[in-house]
C-alpha cells in the first residue's frame, strides 16, 4: 500500500516538475523575446538601419537560443514522461498481482 502511495507521490512530483519546467522555459523565452523586441523598437525609433548581415546574425543567434531552450525543456519533459510511464506500468503490474493473489486466496 505504501509502495502505491509512494508511486502516486512520485507521479505528482513529476507532474509538478513538468509544469514548473514548462512555465520557466516560457518565461525565459518571453523575457528574451521582449529584450529583442525592445532593441528592435529602439532601433526603429532612432531611425537606425540595421545592416543586413547583422540582421541575419541576430536571426541565427535567436534561432539557436530558442532551439536550445526548447531542447532543454523537451528533453527534461520526455525523461519525466518516461518515468511516469514506468510508474504506471508498475502500478498496473501491482494491481494485477493483487487481483491474482485475491483470486488465489478465495480459491
Amino acid at each position: 500500500m505504501s509502495d502505491a502511495r509512494d508511486r502516486a507521490e512520485t507521479r505528482d512530483l513529476i507532474d509538478t516538475g513538468v509544469e514548473l519546467g514548462s512555465v520557466s522555459c516560457g518565461c525565459s523565452l518571453a523575457i528574451g523575446l521582449f529584450i529583442l523586441g525592445s532593441c528592435a523598437g529602439v532601433a526603429a525609433k532612432t531611425g537606425t538601419q540595421t545592416a543586413p548581415v547583422l540582421e541575419i546574425i541576430i536571426a541565427v543567434v535567436s534561432a539557436l537560443v530558442i532551439a536550445t531552450f526548447v531542447y532543454v525543456i523537451a528533453r527534461k519533459n520526455a525523461k519525466l514522461k518516461i518515468a511516469r510511464a514506468e510508474i504506471e506500468k508498475l502500478n498496473r503490474r501491482a494491481a494485477a498481482e493483487l487481483v491474482s493473489q485475491d483470486e488465489a486466496d478465495s480459491d
Binding site: E19, C27, L29, A30, A67, Y71, N77, L80, I82, A85
Partner: protein, 339 residues
C-alpha cells in the same frame, strides 16, 4: 450536454493573425507582415505557460459556429496572398520579398492548413471544394487526395510517404514525402478513375484539374504582378509546403504499424497543450482524428497519457529543424513507449 460558447471561442484566435496583417498593411504599417513571425514566437512562448487541456468535448451545440470559422479562412488567406502580391510589387527591396513570402507562407501552413485539413475530411461538396482552393493557394492541392485516401489508410506502414521513419531526419523525410505524396496522389486518382470507368486524361481527373488551376493562377499572377509576383507566390508556396510536411513529420515520427493492424491511439503523436490546440484547430489531438476522420475538430477527444509529445506542437517544430536535438528527445521516448 451543450458545448458552452466560451469553450469554442478560442478557435477564433488564429483568424486574428491574418486579420492583423491585413488591417496593419492597408493602414500603412511597415511591420504588418513581420507580425506573423512574432505571432509564431508568441504562440511558442504561450504554449509553455498555457498548460495542458485534457478535458473532453461536451456536446455539439456550437458545431455550426465552428464550421463557419473554417469557411472564413479561404477569403482571409486569399486576401493575405493578394496583399502580399501588392506588397512585393510596390517595394523593390529583396528583403520585403523574403519577409512577405515567409509570412504569407507561414499563415497558409501554420494556421490555414489545419482549416483546409478539416474541410477536406467533410462530406459536403462545398467544404471539400474550399479545401482544394485553399490548398491551391500554395500549389499543394493534391494533398487533398493523398491525405484522405492514402495517408489515412496507410499511416504507420512503410509505404506511407507521410509517416517519418524511426531515425529519419526531417531533411531526409522532406523529399521522400513531397515526391512520394505527389506520386501517390496520381496513383490513387488513376485507380479511382479506372474503378469508376472514366478516362484518365479527362475532366473527371482531379489531378489534371488541380494542375490546370495552379498553372492558370501562376500565369494570371505573372500577367498582373510580373516576375516578383510569381517569385513571391512560389516562395510562399514552398514555405507553406515545408510547414505542412514538418507537421506530418511531428505527427507520426517513428510510428510503426503492421499490415492489417487497426489504427489506434498509438499511431500518432499528440499534444494536449492548450495554445497549440486552439491555434491549430485541435490537430494536435491527432490520434482521435485518425480514429474517426469525420469527427469535427471541436469534438476531438484527448488521447490519454500514451504518445504525448513532451512539449507543444509549436516547440516541436523548432526541434524538428535540428535533427540531433530531435532524436535525442524523441528516440528514448519511442523506445520507452515500445517497451
Amino acid at each position: 450536454m451543450k458545448e458552452k460558447w466560451p469553450a469554442v471561442l478560442p478557435f477564433l484566435l488564429p483568424c486574428l493573425v491574418p486579420a492583423l496583417v491585413l488591417t496593419a498593411y492597408w493602414n500603412g504599417a511597415a511591420w504588418a507582415f513581420r507580425a506573423v513571425i512574432w505571432s509564431y514566437l508568441a504562440a511558442l512562448v504561450l504554449d509553455f505557460v498555457g498548460g495542458e487541456d485534457t478535458s473532453e468535448p461536451r456536446g455539439d451545440a456550437a458545431i455550426g459556429f465552428c464550421r463557419l470559422i473554417t469557411w472564413l479562412w479561404f477569403p482571409l488567406q486569399l486576401a493575405v496572398i493578394v496583399t502580399g502580391l501588392v506588397a512585393v510589387t510596390v517595394s523593390p527591396d529583396w528583403r520585403t520579398l523574403y519577409v512577405v513570402s515567409i509570412a504569407a507562407g507561414g499563415i497558409s501552413g501554420m494556421f490555414g492548413i489545419p482549416v483546409a485539413h478539416e474541410l477536406m475530411h467533410r462530406s459536403s461538396r462545398l467544404e471539400r471544394t474550399l479545401a482544394e482552393l485553399q490548398m491551391s493557394l500554395f500549389t499543394y492541392a493534391h494533398f487533398c487526395i493523398e491525405h484522405v485516401e492514402g495517408h489515412h489508410h496507410n499511416v504507420g506502414l512503410r509505404r506511407d510517404p507521410a509517416t517519418a521513419r524511426f531515425g529519419e531526419s526531417l531533411y531526409a523525410f522532406l523529399p521522400r514525402t513531397v515526391l512520394g505524396g505527389y506520386l501517390d496522389a496520381w496513383r490513387l486518382e488513376i485507380a479511382r478513375l479506372r474503378a469508376a470507368g472514366h478516362a484518365v486524361h479527362g475532366p473527371h481527373n482531379r489531378m489534371l484539374r488541380y494542375l490546370v488551376l495552379q498553372l492558370v493562377m501562376i500565369v494570371a499572377i505573372a500577367a498582373a504582378f510580373g516576375g516578383r509576383g510569381v517569385a513571391f507566390f512560389l516562395f510562399q508556396s514552398a514555405v507553406g509546403i515545408l510547414i505542412v510536411e514538418v507537421l506530418n513529420y511531428v505527427e507520426h515520427y517513428g510510428i510503426r504499424r503492421r499490415e492489417h493492424e487497426p489504427v489506434t491511439d498509438r499511431h500518432s503523436w499528440n499534444s494536449s497543450h492548450r495554445i497549440s490546440n486552439w491555434l491549430m484547430f485541435n490537430v494536435p489531438r491527432h490520434s482521435d482524428h485518425h480514429a474517426d476522420a469525420a469527427r469535427a475538430y471541436p469534438q476531438l477527444r484527448h488521447a490519454g497519457a500514451d504518445r504525448q509529445l513532451p512539449v507543444g506542437y509549436f516547440a516541436m517544430f523548432v526541434l524538428a529543424l535540428f535533427p540531433p536535438l530531435w532524436r535525442s528527445v524523441m528516440d528514448p521516448l519511442i523506445a520507452a513507449e515500445e517497451r
